[in-house]
Amino acid sequence: MYRYDEFDAEFVRQRTAQFRDQVGRRLSGELTEDEFKPLRLRNGVYLQLHAYMLRIAIPYGTLSSRQMRKLAHIARTYDRGTGHFTTRQNLQFNWPRLSDIPDILGELAEVEMHAIQTSGNCIRNVTADHFAGAAADEVADPRPYAEIIRQWSSLHPEFNWLPRKFKVGVTGSEHDRAAIKTHDIGLHLKRLADGRLGFAVWVGGGQGRSPFLAELIRDDLPEADLLSYLEAILRVYNLHGRRDNIYKARIKILVHDLGAEAFAAQVEEEWRRIRDGVLKLPQAEIDRIRAYFAPPAYDERPVPAPPRAAGRAFDRWITRNTHAHKQAGHAIVTISLKPIGGIPGDASAAQMDAVADLAERYSLDEVRVTHEQNLVLPHVRSGDLWQVYRGLEAIGLAEGNAGLVTDIIACPGLDYCALANARSIPIAQRISERLSPRQDQIGDLKIKISGCINACGHHHVGHIGILGVEKRGEEHYQLLLGGSGAEDAALADIAGPGFGPEGIVDAVEKVVTTYLELRSNPQEPFLATYRRLGATPFKDALYAAA
């Protein structure tokens, strides 16, 4: 894992002191709310429906057990005992007092964490594959590059006031677990034709009111040129992205309006001017950062699995929640934060502490946070899986449903969010309860729920997506089908007229039942059936009777 040196630690200390001064000037009235708002947003502080909300960065989703325990401590001390893991590898606290936030940031700084640029029209927390450094199918670990980008983008003087927010995601595998095509910049780390590492650069993805999948603008960017290329993209966007309409201000609109080719030509022209300048990454520096992410010291002694009670639940959990590790004798464990009928992404302070204990004991002290709102123990010896399972069972997080229909992404929605039009969480809970008896039979199926068009719940790329809207003062839900945020990325289609809060749960069940009737065999997943047959049979089932 990356460790702060004195420079990093002092940087975060100074930023915390600066924010403390900004909060003080707001509380004294020296700053107006209009002046303060963009400043607090750049440090992750929102004003929500009921309280302030603090969004903490978990860069590229990597945490140590010490950091996890600090998050538990903050939940207990400054919040109501719960943290909410988001779709962008952040953690949100929903009930902090504004006057406490500088102290919370001080606590975070003690464990090398911060809330810098988790909001605002700037370069946001950089995300990466949550299995990075562990997955068997990985070409190279994307986290060193995500860390380099994190540093470069932190308080960047030129790019702190962009037309709109800007998200960068990085993957090092062909199988895209980082959803890079829905990012403003998606980076695919791979071997170039000459055998050296480099990037395919995708630009202009994004969800929200006008969803777009990113366009490939360069397929062979050498790693040494990473930052100069990013700077060229950001400069073109900063100068020419629209600022007259918030809904047209993301880079996706600029790329779409100009055309990817013309946009790329402008980037390339600027890049040629600066590529051999100060941002050229020396190999020694790439190696220095990479050394922080060197494979951990795996214990290669075989561990005999202890006796265990035979049980279908453990077998299901092994099948669904473990993933192939690059190191023999090890597995990657997904900890589902989606207990049946629970709130997606929520973890109590006690659960966070227990996960930290498990990570320390069984996963070389590491935890990961996924954009699917789950946690991961990346380095578990096969022989320890039973103990890990038992430990998770004790805290109610042993549901073996990763990737199943109850592993639902949902934004906070109208229960918390000042932007929302409809609630997301209760819809997720009802669907989870309704479909859980059949979830193994249903197999891989990703449901994603957003409470407004901003699409924090990624509904555009759900196999089944749900969008909450407001219709004549009532909560109303659109149903979308056939999306994907993975390497086969696709935007979902709106199925037809929307539904009320009860009707949407029935509608999802109807789609699922129709799929079960139509699939060619039990191994054909929902998305494959949908792509084979199209929307028609599902629409017929949903609307024909009406």
Binding site: E33, L155, V236, R242, D244, A249, Q266, L279, A418
Partner: protein, 234 residues
């Protein structure tokens, strides 16, 4: 002013205004994407020479004056420059013109004997005046709102692409929390009207983060000192 620390539960709002997460929401003109960092080749001196050849054209700051509008070199000064709008005749002494007027009257203005400055709006291009830059002792970049980030990129292009070495002034919505970023991209004078910012400057209380993760400018960081991305503030 909304309550700051104890926010009472809001009713479920209906018909709220548009989502308000964004800091800056421009009210600017409808936008047609054109060439970003424009592509037209331009005649004129090599960038490295632009603005540097004629240092005698530089204009000394106005008299130090705590009530003066210009923050420069750690003190407030009177403005040595006159801003000229519309069609008014050139006054005696240093004058700042809108870019459009320069373009319209370049022939006559180029030969005049008075120090000239330009004010450039965020949406305006630089390449069509690149060859003229040595003529200007001052360029003012306008911040219609402090959330409009375009002048930061324009400043870097002026300094790093076009080699402009004259006075680079921030005008408009210039607030204390943005001054450091402005300095880092090349601004060296600031027209400050915001009263709290003027007080903070006068009293020297603007907490800043004095460590940088990214160089700006064209100089390479010294080898073997700090990692590539890092510099301490000057």
């Amino acid at each position: 002013m909304p309550p700051l620390d104890e926010v009472s539960p809001s009713p479920r709002l209906r018909g709220r205004p548009a989502p308000a997460e964004a800091g800056g929401r421009g009210e600017g003109q409808p936008h047609t994407p054109t060439s970003a960092i424009t592509t037209a080749p331009h005649p004129g001196p090599l960038p490295a020479e632009a603005g540097r050849g004629d240092r005698s054209a530089l204009v000394a700051p106005g008299e130090p004056d705590p009530e003066g509008p210009i923050w420069q070199g750690g003190a407030f000064h009177r403005d040595a420059w006159t801003k000229l709008d519309g069609e008014a005749a050139l006054p005696v002494g240093p004058v700042i013109l809108p870019k459009q007027r320069w373009l319209a009257e370049r022939g006559e203005l180029a030969g005049c004997n008075t120090p000239l400055g330009l004010v450039i709006a965020p949406g305006e291009a630089l390449d069509d005046i690149a060859a003229d830059l040595p003529r200007f002792a001052l360029i003012a970049l306008a911040f219609p709102k402090f959330t409009d980030g375009r002048p930061y990129s324009l400043a870097r292009l002026l300094r790093e692409k076009h080699g402009y070495a004259g006075e680079l002034r921030a005008v408009g919505s210039v607030l204390s929390d943005q001054l450091q970023s402005m300095r880092r991209v090349g601004f060296d004078s600031f027209e400050v009207t915001h009263a709290p910012t003027r007080r903070a400057l006068a009293e020297g209380r603007i907490p800043e983060v004095a460590l940088y993760y990214q160089p700006t400018g064209t100089d390479a960081p010294p080898d073997g000192t700090r990692p590539w991305l890092r510099r301490r503030a000057d």
